[in-house]
Symmetry: D3
Subunit: 132 residues, 6 copies
């Protein structure tokens, strides 16, 4: 937005179609573009490829495959230490204090679309200032 | 949102129908459910009953009855010390520093719907991290 | 909103019509009123006149005329030290740390409408508490 | 410090001689001057008199007399909404969320002298920025 | 301090005698008691035993044995999600964003004693408010 | 401290001998090394030379010569956008909101030595995390 360039793209790591749709719609309503990775492994591949300049990661904690959301966030931060991270969880909220990365946001299900928009926007706005 | 569970429910304490409607619509637009208590006394009764798991309180300061918004927020925090509190006021903003509770947000009328959505979302997102 | 008074008015300093429209629409969607100043000089004149009680400034950095966005923000803060400031920039983000004012927000283009709504709302909500 | 004017004076509200001495020594080590009020009533009298320009309040919660530390802090904030407040408590920490004022610091006994110096310094440094 | 109870005890995880001494002296100067664990394994044993009520962890990153400082902090947070954590490192600062826990402080060597006192005090003061 | 390397060096920009001495002693008590630049021009020369790796700038506002403290801080941030900045002032506090740089600290004279130690330590600890 705000000029002719493409919108900021948010990478969503989620294997449940229902939640994929809900998060995509919330972010699209706020003017973000989104991409979906159905597993942590695919998310890490996309982040490492550098083909798209993702601006933030929104990840579920429980994922099919060998890697969970805590792990995909650590990998994203190894690639870019300032990468904005939002976790979504129902049952694993009590693990954030030991498994989450610094300056991340935890959304406990059920959450409202406004909460994910505020979380992503706050982290992006703060990251812009760190980059300067 | 984000799964089959119910949406987060926000308790609004307000005795003016016009403002009730405006706050309800703003929160509904952001994906929250809302409940209205027309007086502080009814709000405290609802919070104490534990029937609904309210996730935040949005309260006007001047209310009919013997209890004002500052008092209903203190009662809510006695029940749950981490309860997110948003105050709305026109004339009583200068009392927040002495009458408000810690980590609350004050909205001065007139405010835009985006301000109430951001206030409630920020407080809910921060509370999730303290709970973990 | 929230009563019969007028909505909070945000002053946008922008000389490109496309971005003017995009920012206006984003803020209007969140319930704000907006006014446009096409140059820094006109913005300063509007702020000094005191005719409208602007609640925040959203300014591009590169502006036609002799004054840029960094300078118009300093002037706004000389008039009101608590005035909320949001900068928008593509190329000048690395100047924020030396040219920006304290407690301002920097939006790097391209940004999503949700980012500008969150930035303006957060700054207004924080300013309300400082005023009390 | 830092010029020929007097040092910042911190008002300590405490009725136990042992703790009075410990807090006084900690603040004196950090370069502050201190004044002692042995009761909330005397503290309020000193703050209202305006004879000394106290820069912060450090108060115990349980005090002899009719007023406790929560109440003396509210009175101090009615006089100056930006007044820095530090509470000290052993047993009443769980009341801070409902009885404390916004932007205050709670020290739970036993605490180290460095904690009180850091608390007072942080609040004073933040208040300086709000005043500008 | 501040009453007849024991001082807050800080657990230092460090295998170099020189740094052990320096950190112990800095914390003692600020009025803290300290205990030393020369390895991550011993630190975890002490935290799990519950014999002493440690109030914060100050840990080097590179430690002899199979566990590093990032890992000992995660274990401490599994035991107590609000546990204050300070990391000390020379070469591993760039790993904090991916390996550190939320709401922790990173001290990059060489650091001054005042930095460790401020870090520990800030985290303890913030934790007190979360506990209330 | 904390290893065999040199201590962090803080650059103090001050032309009054009395205040030079007071700030030097406060920082030395906290374990910092200090260097003095008696004018803004000399401070900028030292920062640009890169001979010493200064870790923070503590500057008075009113300085002899053509450059004031607001200006020297902007130059320091042009060299390093993350450079920690502490301003000291008696009469110019109300200019900080328009002339200060983001994420800086303002100390209003008279201030206690603990305030300057806390300000420098907080900014250094925060900067360490941004660097990772």
């Amino acid at each position: 937005m705000a000029n002719s360039e493409s919108l900021p793209v948010i990478l969503i790591v989620e294997d449940e179609t229902l939640i994929q749709t809900l998060v995509e719609e919330a972010l699209a309503d706020g003017g973000f573009e989104t991409a979906i990775a159905p597993s942590a492994e695919e998310a890490v591949t996309l982040l490492r490829s550098g083909v798209t300049d993702y601006r933030a990661l929104v990840t579920d904690i429980n994922l099919k495959g060998n890697m969970n959301g805590w792990e995909v966030a650590r990998r994203a931060r190894e690639i870019d230490p300032a990468f904005p991270i939002v976790y979504m969880t129902g049952a694993a909220a009590d693990e954030w204090a030991s498994q989450g990365v610094p300056n991340s946001v935890l959304l406990v299900k059920p959450f409202a679309p406004a909460q994910i928009l505020t979380a992503v926007s706050q982290l992006l706005n703060a990251a812009a200032q760190g980059q300067s």
